[in-house]
Amino acid sequence: MTSVDNVALGHDAIDREQTRERRESFSAFALNSPAIIWLVFMAVIPIGWSFWTSLHSMNLRRPHRTQFIGLDNYFELLHAPEFLNAIQVTAVFAAGTIAFSLLIGLLLALLLNEEFPGRSLVRALTLVPWAMPPVVVGLVWSWIYDGRFGLLNAIFKSFGIIRESRAWALDPDFAMASLITAQVWHQVPFVTIVFLAALQTIPDEFYEAAKVDGASRLSRFFHITLPWLSQAMLIVLITQTMEALRVFDLVFVLTGGGPGDATTVLGWLTYTRSFSFLDFGRGNSYAFVMAFMTLLLSVFYIRLLWKRGEFAR
């Protein structure tokens, strides 16, 4: 309500108006309360509780020795070899999956942006992996990687690439690669769709102007297509980073963090710390470090790409 309205309405009217507004905001709150209560119980309280737990030394094997230790869990994890290893493993996993899903997704989007017979069918098929829950993806790939009956062994053998079968996901040299492959397979559809959507908004006139300007196919790609995709790139980088940092289901099904700790990513470490070793204080601090790292990286990406992306509109 503007002040001009106030003058025109007079005091009685203002009072009435304010009561009405108060009543309205109350009913808005009342109507939304189921959602709000749900959120409070399902998100706000658990997150708060988790943080509170991370400030304690709390191991369910010694429940009576639980005590408040402030940020000690956080200070200690900086020296914990298992944590530093997990950071490293997670970084390798993230770099691998982001790089490959970005590259493959981009190539696929460029392909699907061209006209060819059967394009819509291929587009639909591309989406299939994305529709699967990660656990199912893990199971599918665990069969592909299987040491005795796996598809991969069969294929490689038939081409004479290997002689002995191996359990790829459990092999120290290939466990990480197996994990990355499965994750990339799962994420590529999303990346493709994001890029494809952006590609389809590029006006033909840009390409035509560039053709008249004498730009080759390659320079058209680098000078027009790629800059235009910077916003889509930002979305892909952020989502893929989050997906990579919080990966758990795939590890659970495929490698169980092994062999040794070769694929013990942060998510897996958090899980084993909390639920195998029942060290809930430390486990929760890992969870918060993970969330914080994701946040930091997102801010970094946005800083890096936002301005350039904005120019593309």
Partner: protein, 358 residues
């Protein structure tokens, strides 16, 4: 030097035929405007000249060299697009430099040429901005700057002014025209705006439905429209047209419409046996005394003031005619007046062929 020769051009999109047997010759350094209603194929023709659209059949030559199958970059043409097509992530300077960069021109020369073009177009202070930080008119200028830095032989414009407001359009019209004089190049300019066509063209090409209806200097087209389409398309308000047949009145050969309006018989008698269409522009319809011979009685229905002129719509028989007179207060709504088209500027077209007969 750049003449353009379009011969026997055909264009089909699948089963849809856009052009059949199109022929056009554009002289060196000529400013040719393609004008016609929406969908008549102006853009398609222009894009074929640029090399952006395949030619189904026929040839296009620049200076006697067949370029029909050449890629755009080998044609020495520049094109200004309707929506400007400025690269959004590049600064004005980079946009203008892009064509030169792609052609491997040295940095020093690029810089000098961009600066020169920016000077001509008044863009010097905007060189570091991005397109989204410019007004529509400034973007328009950048688009032209991008074309002129390359100093090509042929410039192609596809409705470059249609996104500007009316006032700016008038300014830019003059600017494009002076650019043409300065650059000494061949211009092919597409528009659906007949005023633009009239004011800018050395020669205008009136197109309709994939065919060329008339080619000629603006005044020639205006004064002697080759057929009914050109007569009705060029000129605003549109020409009055009345269907009529040869007849005899008071022993004189005249042309008479169904509802009894009579007009003098065209001077050269050829081909007047069947039905005719008589046409005269609003400007050529005058108020006359009642006893003037040939005067048509009419009733005033609507009066409009455009500022420069006053448009009087009158009803004569079953026809509604538009008359344009010098600006004046006109109070005679519903009054009867006598009007007479100027016989020297009355056009006659064959009703069946729609072609001019006198």
């Amino acid at each position: 030097m750049a003449t353009i020769e379009i011969s026997d051009l055909h264009k089909r999109y699948g089963a849809v035929e856009i052009f059949r047997n199109l022929n056009l010759h554009v002289q060196d350094k000529e400013f040719v405007v393609l004008v016609g209603p929406s969908g008549c194929g102006k853009s398609t023709l222009l894009r074929m000249l640029a090399g952006l659209e395949d030619v189904t059949d026929g040839t296009i030559s620049f200076d006697g060299t067949d370029v029909t199958d050449l890629k755009p970059k080998h044609r020495d043409v520049a094109m200004v697009f309707q929506n400007y097509a400025l690269y959004p992530h590049m600064s004005v300077a980079k946009n203008m430099a892009f064509g030169l960069r792609m052609r491997g021109v040295t940095n020093a020369e690029i810089e000098q040429r961009v600066a020169a073009a920016a000077g001509v177009l008044g863009l010097t202070e905007y060189l570091e901005r991005h397109p989204r930080e410019l007004s529509g008119g400034q973007r328009q200028r950048v688009a032209m700057g991008r074309a002129i830095v390359r100093t090509p032989q042929v410039f192609l414009f596809d409705e470059p002014l249609s996104n500007l407001d009316a006032l700016l359009r008038v300014d830019m019209r003059a600017e494009v025209k002076s650019l043409h004089q300065r650059l000494n190049a061949t211009f092919v300019y597409v528009t659906h705006d007949q005023v633009e066509a009239m004011t800018m063209a050395d020669r205008m090409v009136v197109m309709n439905n994939g065919t060329i209806e008339q080619v000629g200097a603006p005044l020639q087209v205006y004064d002697k429209p080759a057929n009914v389409f050109v007569a009705s398309f060029i000129g605003s308000p549109a020409m009055n047209m009345i269907r009529a047949k040869p007849s005899v009145a008071n022993g004189q050969k005249v042309i008479r419409s169904d509802d009894g309006l009579t007009f003098p018989h065209p001077k050269n008698n050829t081909g007047c046996e069947g039905g005719l269409i008589v046409g005269f522009r609003p400007r050529d319809l005058n108020v006359v005394d009642k006893d003037t011979s040939g005067a048509i009685e009419a009733k005033v229905e609507i009066v409009e003031h455009t500022g420069v002129e006053t448009l009087v719509y009158v009803r004569a028989g079953s026809h509604k005619l538009c008359m344009s007179i010098d600006k004046q207060e006109w109070s005679g709504l519903g009054e009867s007046v006598c009007v007479l088209p100027d016989p020297a500027n009355t056009h006659y077209f064959d009703e069946t062929t729609k072609q001019r007969v006198g």
